[in-house]
């Protein structure tokens, strides 16, 4: 099968997108960029290919390419089964990484500067800790479980710290000792290319799905056919005809120059791919804000970026959250409870804290201040949009801040007041916008 790959090497996350010749997105993969771009790139690609095979699996089964035999299930049930299967697959991947973490943690104890006397109790504690995590993980990957981070570091880390707190003894194996081991080992796990492939883990995932009465009313015949369909999908050869890279670390990609595209061009084209009616794109990321105009083909006709100062970018919200002792994702919902909007003049990260404290001292409510803050951020973005040529219909909003309801609210209000009604597009997958654009560039460059 002929495929096109787009990679967006961002400063915090690396994304990969796989697209087929009909511009259908088959797979997406994401990982944190870490200090090692090469590994991040490889992992994101692997993930995107796994996702691709799941898509193909889904496509093959739902189009009826696989006969489900006598015990054939209805399509709805099949969907539930596949969701469960994917969850089991992710669980297998997680456990594979957890095993690796266990191994190197044990090795670390042996060679580390750990007191001889404490080595055995530390080893025991760790074994217990990892076992508990493995049990807990079963919950996380159960279908219908609450959405969690996609990153091993986050999942394992949280559970590890909780466990370490519970198991630590002030006079023996202390909390700090346990944390120390984790900190030393987690980066190494992240930087090791483990076999997390579909080929290596699908069998176990299928076993898990069909075991424990998880067959969900599927007959043995159906199981056999599903297993064979899985084999067929695994046998499809995935051939990347062209790949294009973009993002902050794009220069690190082992691609020739003509296969590297600027973030702005990829962003414009990506937004166009996700919402073909897009004329104007606003992207507010952690470090920068971009206002982009695209033509009906998704080609950028004009763009503006913030200057060297990161005022009004996502980072600013991070400072505000720190100042208020809140999580950054809690800011939006709180701001939505405002009765009024307090005018905030400085979106400068340096002054943010001082202005916030002064407003609080003056007796303003947190909700009202936060609404003002979100408005201030959006006002800066409005300036960039105006500089780039205004806001045309349709208008697509991407980047981390697009997930913040208060920002979206401020944006839609201001857009309507200043430009009239515009269709506002926001995708749950907006983090992949740049990679999608890169994939389409890869496709177009071959086709053109």
């Amino acid at each position: 099968m002929k495929l096109y790959l787009g990679i967006d090497l961002g400063s915090t996350t690396t994304k990969a997108v796989v697209m087929d010749a009909n511009q259908v997105i088959l797979g997406k993969g994401i990982t944190n960029s870490r200090s090692n771009y090469d590994t991040a790139c490889a992992i994101a690609q692997n993930e995107a290919f796994i996702d691709t095979r799941f898509s193909l699996f889904r496509r093959q089964m739902s189009t009826g390419a696989v006969e489900l035999g006598t015990g054939a299930v209805e399509l709805g049930n099949l969907e539930a089964f596949l969701t469960g299967l994917e969850a089991n697959f992710r669980l297998e991947q997680f456990l594979r990484q957890l095993r690796h973490l266990t191994e190197i943690s044990m090795a670390e104890i042996s060679k580390g500067r750990v007191d001889q006397a404490l080595r055995t109790p530390l080893r025991d504690k760790l074994e217990q800790l990892f076992e508990e995590i493995a049990v807990e993980a079963l919950e996380w990957f159960r279908p219908g479980a609450a959405k969690r981070s996609d990153f091993f570091r986050d999942l394992a880390g949280n559970a590890y710290m909780r466990g370490a707190e519970a198991l630590a003894e002030p006079d023996g194996v202390t909390y700090d000792m346990l944390v120390n081991v984790y900190d030393k080992c987690i980066i190494r796990v992240e930087n090791t290319l483990l076999d997390l492939s579909l080929e290596g883990n699908m069998g176990k995932a299928l076993d898990r799905s069909f075991g424990d009465g998880g067959r969900d009313g599927l007959s043995e015949e159906a199981e056999a056919e599903i297993r064979s369909a899985a084999d067929q999908v695994l046998d499809i050869s995935l051939e990347v005809l062209n790949a294009v890279g973009t993002g902050y670390g794009r220069a690190r990609l082992p691609f020739p120059k003509e296969r590297i595209r600027s973030e702005i061009l990829c962003h414009g084209l990506g937004a166009h791919t996700m919402f073909p009616g897009t004329a104007t794109v606003l992207d507010i990321g952690g470090q920068d804000t971009k206002a982009i105009q695209v033509d009906p083909e998704g080609i950028v006709t004009s763009f503006q970026m913030n200057d060297r100062c990161a005022a009004g970018c996502g980072r600013y919200l991070g400072y505000i959250a720190d100042e208020l002792n809140m999580g950054v994702q809690e800011l939006g919902p709180l701001a939505m409870q405002a009765n009024k909007s307090v005018r905030i003049n400085s979106t400068c990260t340096v002054f943010a804290g001082a202005e916030l404290r002064e407003r609080l001292n003056n007796g303003e409510r947190r909700e009202d201040i936060l609404q003002g803050l979100h408005r201030a951020i959006i006002l800066r973005a409005m300036s960039l949009l105006a500089r780039s040529g205004g806001i045309e219909d349709e208008f697509t909003f991407t980047g981390g801040v697009a997930n913040n309801e208060a920002a979206v609210h401020a944006l839609s209000t201001l857009v309507e007041e200043n430009y009239g009604k515009r269709k506002l597009n926001i995708s749950a997958n907006s983090i992949y916008t740049g990679a999608v654009g890169a994939a389409l560039f890869a496709l177009r460059n071959v086709a053109g």
């Binding site: 595209r261 600027s262 973030e263 702005i264 061009l265 033509d295 083909e297 080609i299 950028v300 006709t301 004009s302 763009f303 503006q304 970026m305 200057d307 060297r308 500089r387 053109g448």
Partner: protein, 441 residues
């Protein structure tokens, strides 16, 4: 003044390929001119020459030169030359330590910083203190403050020349009369006093006639960029081409010779179908033709230039190459009307034009030089250029139908050159032009 410039003879006994010899020659000439000027400044105490500080836009070089014993110093040029040698970061900090704000012009701060650390100029020799500050207040308000500061620094007298701004896009008779009067009644008497010699209008006429000659050749060089491909870069490359005529050499025999040589070289490049020369040698094929508004960044001059030539981008016209005079729009120094033509020269400097005139000029450049891009390098230090540039961008886009690009940097403050940010914008901009072409094709 002209007599002190050593003339360099071509070394005919070194047989090198034609073009390279010619390229070498104009560059060697210029290098030597500049070196001899700094040398003359360093020796001024012994030779008895007096030193006149003055600014590039609206400089009255012929008038200063006509006295034969006055040497000009241009503080902006010291600052930018120091910046290209990566020395200004410290100087700016030095001035900020003295209480100068982070917000204000870095040229001024680099100059103050230099003065406070021995006044060692870019050539490594000491720049003598001024005997006179000739404050040609042309196109930049900061000039006023700058020389107020230097007056405090050196306790030197100031000759004021207030060039009225072309607010309505015209020069009136009363504006011109005001200028002539200031030159006659303020500038010349103060120059005479410092020089100890009488003003000689015939000497001034001779110099103006030489200016005119050099100006003809400069225009031919700048306009060679109308050819496709262009044999020159009219922004980064032009920085070198405008050097002599915007500074201490206009009206000298050396400048006449330099521009004659330069023109010959450029015409030869044109005939050979060659593109511009870059610090890394011959540029690859011309892929983008740009008009650029705003001064260059000096602290990362080569890095910035590289972002252009690596992509095959040639600047075919720039407003910066007009800060010391709009010769390409027809102005010439005129020996028949010496003082009036000095006045008209000042009026016509690019930053003395109002915004509508600037937009008209830039749009004209886009059309006449067949540009496919228009880029603004917005300089933090320079409000004279920068205030209103976002409107200029929009207006030029509307009038020419091409999309403009916008980057921000500074003159000589290295803290304000964000290489990664600018590179992203430049790459995006070039790729955008390329994609548009593909779409149109």
């Amino acid at each position: 003044m002209s007599a002190q410039v050593t003339r360099i003879k071509p070394e005919a006994d070194q047989p090198l390929p034609g073009n390279e010899v010619q390229k070498e020659r104009s560059m060697v000439l210029q290098k030597e001119m500049i070196a001899s000027h700094y040398k003359a400044l360093a020796a001024s105490a012994e030779t008895g020459c007096k030193v006149v500080y003055t600014f590039v836009p609206g400089n009255l070089n012929e008038l200063i030169g006509s006295f034969d014993n006055l040497l000009p110093v241009h503080p902006e040029i010291n600052a930018l030359q120091n910046a290209m040698r990566k020395r200004t970061g410290k100087m700016v900090l030095e001035a900020e330590k003295l209480g100068h704000s982070e917000d204000v012009c870095a040229y001024v701060k680099a100059d103050i910083g230099m003065a406070r650390s021995g006044n060692i100029g870019p050539s490594g020799t000491r720049i003598p203190d001024p005997h006179l500050l000739l404050l040609s207040y042309t196109g930049c308000f900061t000039f006023l403050k700058w020389f107020e500061l230097l007056r405090e620094e050196y306790n030197a007298p100031v000759a004021m020349l207030h060039t009225p701004y072309q607010g309505d896009g015209i020069v009136t008779d009363s504006m011109r009369a005001y200028m002539v009067r200031q030159i006659k009644e303020e500038v010349i008497p103060k120059l005479e006093k410092v020089s100890g010699r009488k003003f000689d209008i015939d000497k001034l006429r001779e110099m103006l006639a030489r200016s005119r000659q050099a100006e003809d050749d400069l225009v031919a060089v700048l306009e060679s960029a109308k050819n496709v491909p262009s044999p020159i870069d009219a922004y980064f490359g032009a920085v070198y081409y405008i050097g002599p005529i915007f500074s201490a050499f206009r009206g000298t025999e050396a400048a006449v010779e330099y521009y004659r040589e330069l023109r010959k070289e450029v015409e030869a490049r044109l005939a050979a179908g060659q593109g511009p020369v870059t610090p890394e040698g011959e540029m690859g094929p011309e892929r983008y033709r740009l008009v650029v508004e705003g001064p260059p960044n000096w602290t990362s001059f080569r890095d910035f230039w590289k972002m252009f030539y690596d992509e095959g981008a040639v600047v075919v016209a720039s407003s910066y190459a007009k800060v010391g005079g709009l010769y390409d729009q027809g102005f010439r120094h005129d020996p028949e009307h010496p003082l009036e033509s000095l006045a008209d020269y000042c009026f016509g400097c690019y930053t003395n034009l109002n915004l509508p005139s600037r937009v008209a000029l830039l749009s004209k450049y886009v059309r006449e030089y067949q540009a496919d891009g228009f880029l603004i390098n917005s300089i933090k230090s320079c409000n004279s250029f920068s205030a209103g540039q976002l409107l200029i961008l929009r207006e030029v886009e509307q009038r020419t139908g091409i999309a403009g690009g916008f980057v921000e940097s500074d003159l000589v403050d290295p803290r304000y050159f964000s290489g990664a940010n600018i590179k992203t914008r430049m790459e995006s901009y070039f790729q955008m032009i390329e994609q548009k072409r593909k779409g149109a094709a």
